[in-house]
């Protein structure tokens, strides 16, 4: 379905335009860039909201664009929007508004900072929309650069090590992906005579079992690092701990999601046979990650690192859902992904606020915030409860769907995973106890939430409750595209 106005390209390039304006306006002006960034992010959010609300949830592409680009290599500029990308784009646009608000008082080179945030948003949109593998790869790599500089320039003391680690880890995965893409492209070209990177065409490539397995593993290397799946996760805690608050919101909300999206949009449909063969391995890693990350989170004292490890643990849950390979579990996985992005963004936002007021992130020195900052603590408690999967709050809906879906296929996996929820309860409660109750620390800033912080936290809290009680609108958007993807793959 083609429409006259290239709405997707508009959505894609608006953040870039905003970024350029930020960059030029930011020279010698420290107030204007944040307003430009807020307006751009807000505008993009409104557009994507309309996009999601106006489209009927169908299986095909809601919007589609296709232009010639680099004919020498058979690369086309193809964008497509379906229910899955729509949900994730809406999520991205929403979190980006919050990311701008979280870093509102950015003093150091605000023009460049907000420009990088907007470029990151554009790259994430590109990843979620691209249907040509090289176009996808370009945006995939483009996500690295702004994130590298956000962590490396605006982070904490050990930011450079963290930034380089993040960059190298993800790059190694990405280049595996690139090698596989080029080989697949040549194989397809040799078979059919047309050299193309179009996803739909490449799905038809005839592959031997070994080839399929190798390609699948190369694709998964890139996506598993981004998710991050145990044992490829070690860059994430450092990136979170050393990165700025908005960087953490974007990491948890945008970057990690693109890994899962890559799996269901590219890796699984392109190599269904290999994917189904490796499902037990995937589930095994997901379960190990689930427990391992929870266990590590229980040992740590840095609250930002605890949240980072909880993130890894939750993403293990998401991957477990994918490994079940049925409609219920997949819906649960994507729902949990959305919910996790919202709760984690909330947690990181509150952690940044705690740090601003107390000057520390260590559980040893924190405590008693409930008395001095009741409103902030209430939000923190809410997000923590959502994170440990309290019924009625966001994460629960996703987790229960995943558990049901997994139980129908492999009851044992589900039983083990339930234990994981228990684990997450322990470290979350320790986190809550250590910060909100107990011995008083001496916060140098006695003020409770001010207006901008209310503005950040209220929408998140509303969403946490709303999605916990009524996740149906999201599921409606996901249902048809997911079942279409599952049909291509077939049942294991």
């Amino acid at each position: 379905m083609a429409i006259d106005f290239p709405l997707l390209s508009f959505l894609l390039f608006t953040p870039l335009a905003g970024a350029l304006v930020c960059l030029f306006i930011g020279v010698g002006n420290s107030v204007a860039p944040r307003w430009v960034a807020l307006l751009t992010a807000g505008g993009v959010f409104v557009v994507s909201l309309l996009l999601c609300l106006q489209q009927p949830p169908t299986a095909g592409w809601l919007l589609y664009e296709d232009y010639r680009w680099i004919e020498q290599f058979g690369i086309r500029y193809t964008l497509g929007l379906d229910g899955i990308s729509a949900v994730l784009i809406l999520l991205t646009a929403f979190l980006q508004v919050l990311a701008v608000l979280v870093s509102w008082r950015q003093e150091r080179a605000p023009g460049v900072y907000f420009a990088l945030l907007l470029v990151l948003e554009m790259a994430a949109f590109g990843v979620l929309l691209a249907l040509d593998l090289i176009l996808f790869y370009l945006f995939w790599e483009l996500m690295l650069i702004p994130m590298f500089f956000l962590i490396g320039v605006w982070g904490y003391q050990r930011r450079f090590q963290a930034a380089v680690k993040f960059f190298l880890y993800t790059l190694v995965g990405s280049l595996c992906l690139l090698l596989a893409v080029i080989s697949l492209y040549l194989l397809h070209g040799d078979q059919t005579g047309t050299y193309t990177f179009a996803l739909e065409a490449l799905k038809q490539t005839e592959l031997s079992t070994t080839q399929e397995l190798v390609f699948f593993l190369c694709f998964m290397a890139a996506f598993a690092v981004k998710v991050p799946l145990f044992p490829f996760h070690s860059w994430l805690p450092d990136a979170h701990a050393e990165g700025p608050a908005a960087g953490s919101v974007d990491l948890a909300g945008l970057l990690l999601k693109t890994g899962v999206y890559g799996m269901i949009r590219f890796a699984f449909p392109l190599f269904p046979v290999a994917a189904q063969k490796t499902l037990p391995l995937l589930a095994g890693l997901a379960l190990v990650g689930l427990f391992y990350a929870a266990w590590v989170a229980y040992q740590l004292v840095d609250i930002k690192r605890i949240v980072a490890f909880s993130s890894i643990s939750h993403m293990g849950f998401v991957i477990l859902g994918l490994a079940a390979w049925n409609q219920t579990a997949w819906e649960g996985s994507l729902l949990l992904m959305v919910n996790h992005a919202i709760t984690t963004a909330g947690l990181f936002a509150v952690v940044a606020m705690i740090e601003q007021r107390t000057g520390t992130r260590s559980l040893d020195q924190l405590g008693g915030l409930w008395k001095s900052h009741p409103n902030m603590s209430a939000f923190f408690l809410l997000f923590c409860m959502a994170s440990l999967g309290l019924p009625g709050l966001a994460n629960f809906a996703g987790e229960i769907l995943i558990l049901i879906g997994v139980f129908t296929v492999k009851p044992l996996w589900a039983v083990i995973a339930v234990g994981g929820i228990l684990f997450s309860a322990t470290y979350t409660l320790r986190l809550v106890q250590g910060t909100l109750w107990g011995g008083n620390c001496e916060p140098h800033d006695k003020q409770d939430l001010h207006s901008r912080e209310w503005l950040v936290l209220v929408p998140l809290a509303v969403l946490v409750v709303a999605l916990g009680c009524y996740p149906q609108p999201v599921l409606d958007l996901l249902r048809e595209p997911l079942s279409a993807l599952l049909l291509v793959g077939g049942m294991p």
Partner: protein
């Protein structure tokens, strides 16, 4: 020599005459910037002539060709030299270079490079290479009283002279074996399989040694870091880009046309490519001097280009030329930034001195980031599609192993390209306060960076052009 051959060689003649004129003029008017700008103008005119004036004949005396390919190379090298001259304006003032001599030698080198990549016979090749090398000997040691510069000049002279000897001996052997100076005929003649084939092969092996010195392939690369470090930054830039590109460009048609005739050479090249990529990469990792790092980076990039040379054919040649342009833009840019950072105390080279410069010079640091990230092959910069084209050609030509090693080398390369960037963006006050760049310099470097960005998003026009002019 007829009038027509002279007309066909017009760009080279322009460069050579311009060089002589500036040398003479420089003796009368001691204005550095004036002569540099005149030199740049001459180079630009030569480039325009090469690009837009149709030569009356293609084959010039059986020594040179005026094919579209040769003229494309002339345009590239002339523009590189013009850019080098413009970027050197402040630099020559700071170090009190003789402006006329400097510009004259640069143009002389441009003429040499242009002849080199236009050569169709060994005689032409030898002449071109010597013209280039002679100019470089002097340019490298141009800074008076600078011991590192003198050391670099000496090193290049010794290695260069040895390479020249190898080249001369190689030509003699090949001539004995095949009875011709013509490059094409010599390559094909090698195939004939007569009794002189071993002799010819020995000649080709010696030729490879000579070429290996010139484009610093491992194990002939040892001079590279020292020379790049000691030479004036703009000269290092020229050494790393055009001077190497011209040699590669001269050998590209040879490997493309001769088909199976040079299969044995290809096997050697295969080994050289692997060794060059790996050794260069690992040698670059511990460097703490940006010029030495860029030297090893250029070694690694020569290894990549060797892949394209091995694949030859349509895809390979296209990838090679595209890569050469993109690599030259980024490398020239990086050395250009180092040039603009120079002041009376010398150049900034150590990462320790780079620390915190971003606060002082945000624009130039951003530009340097663009150049280094492009060299690392990070999209959406042009370096990505250059590497993409290269690895795609390698896969398609049946050299998947080279592509895989290339990819691994480029993963590791990110580390050594990020190290100077990290130093730049360290939040410390810069140790030394440096001058601000002249607007012409900034403009030129911004131009390079913008071209890199545009080529990264729209590589099609250049790819089409390159495909059209291929031999």
């Amino acid at each position: 020599m007829t009038l027509e051959s002279l007309q066909s060689l017009l760009p080279q003649i322009l460069l050579a005459l311009g060089s002589t004129a500036i040398l003479l003029g420089g003796a009368w008017v001691r204005n550095r910037r004036l002569w540099l700008l005149v030199g740049a103008l001459v180079a630009i005119v030569a480039a325009l002539v090469a690009a837009f004036v149709e030569p009356p004949q293609i084959d010039i005396l059986g020594m040179y060709s005026a094919s579209a390919y040769a003229r494309f190379c002339t345009v590239l090298w002339s523009l590189t030299v013009a850019a080098t001259l413009v970027i050197s304006c402040r630099y020559v003032d700071i170090f009190r270079f003789g402006g006329g001599e400097y510009a004259s030698l640069m143009l002389f080198a441009a003429a040499g490079m242009s002849l080199l990549s236009a050569a169709t016979s060994f005689v032409g090749l030898f002449l071109g290479l010597e013209v280039l090398t002679l100019a470089l000997y002097i340019l490298i040691a141009f800074r008076h009283g600078d011991t590192r510069g003198a050391e670099a000049g000496m090193k290049y002279l010794v290695f260069g002279a040895v390479a020249t000897a190898f080249l001369a001996f190689a030509i003699a052997l090949i001539y004995t074996a095949t009875g011709t100076f013509n490059l094409q005929a010599a390559a094909v003649g090698l195939q004939a399989g007569d009794g002189l084939r071993p002799l010819g092969l020995a000649g080709w092996a010696l030729l490879l040694v000579a070429v290996g010195f010139k484009i610093s392939l491992v194990p002939f690369h040892l001079w590279t870091p020292d020379v790049y470090q000691g030479a004036p930054a703009p000269v290092s830039g020229l050494l790393a880009t055009a001077a190497k590109g011209a040699v590669l460009a001269a050998f590209l048609p040879l490997l493309v046309m001769s088909g199976e005739g040079v299969a044995d050479i290809r096997a050697v090249l295969w080994l050289l490519a692997i060794v060059t990529m790996l050794v260069g990469t690992f040698a670059a990792l511990p460097q703490t001097n940006i010029k030495r790092m860029l030297a090893y980076s250029s070694v690694v990039h020569m290894g990549y280009l060797l892949i394209a040379l091995i694949v030859a054919g349509g895809d390979g040649s296209r990838a090679l030329l595209f890569y050469l342009v993109v690599y030259s833009l980024a490398t020239f840019g990086a050395f250009g930034i180092i040039t603009t950072f120079a002041d009376e105390n010398g150049e900034i080279q150590d990462y320790g001195d780079l620390r915190g410069l971003s606060a002082l010079h945000p624009r130039r640091c951003a530009l340097l980031s663009v150049f280094l990230l492009s060299l690392a092959g990070i999209p959406p910069l042009a370096g990505f599609f250059a590497k993409f084209g290269l690895f795609q050609a390698a896969f398609r030509g049946g050299y998947a192993e080279l592509a895989v090693i290339g990819v691994i080398a480029s993963i590791i390369s990110v580390y050594y390209y990020l190290r100077p960037l990290i130093a730049l963006y360290t939040p410390e006050p810069a140790v030394v306060c440096r001058d601000f760049a002249a607007s012409t310099e900034t403009l030129l470097l911004v131009g390079c960076a913008v071209t890199i960005l545009i080529l990264g998003v729209f590589p099609s026009p250049l790819l089409t052009l390159v495909a059209q002019i291929l031999p």
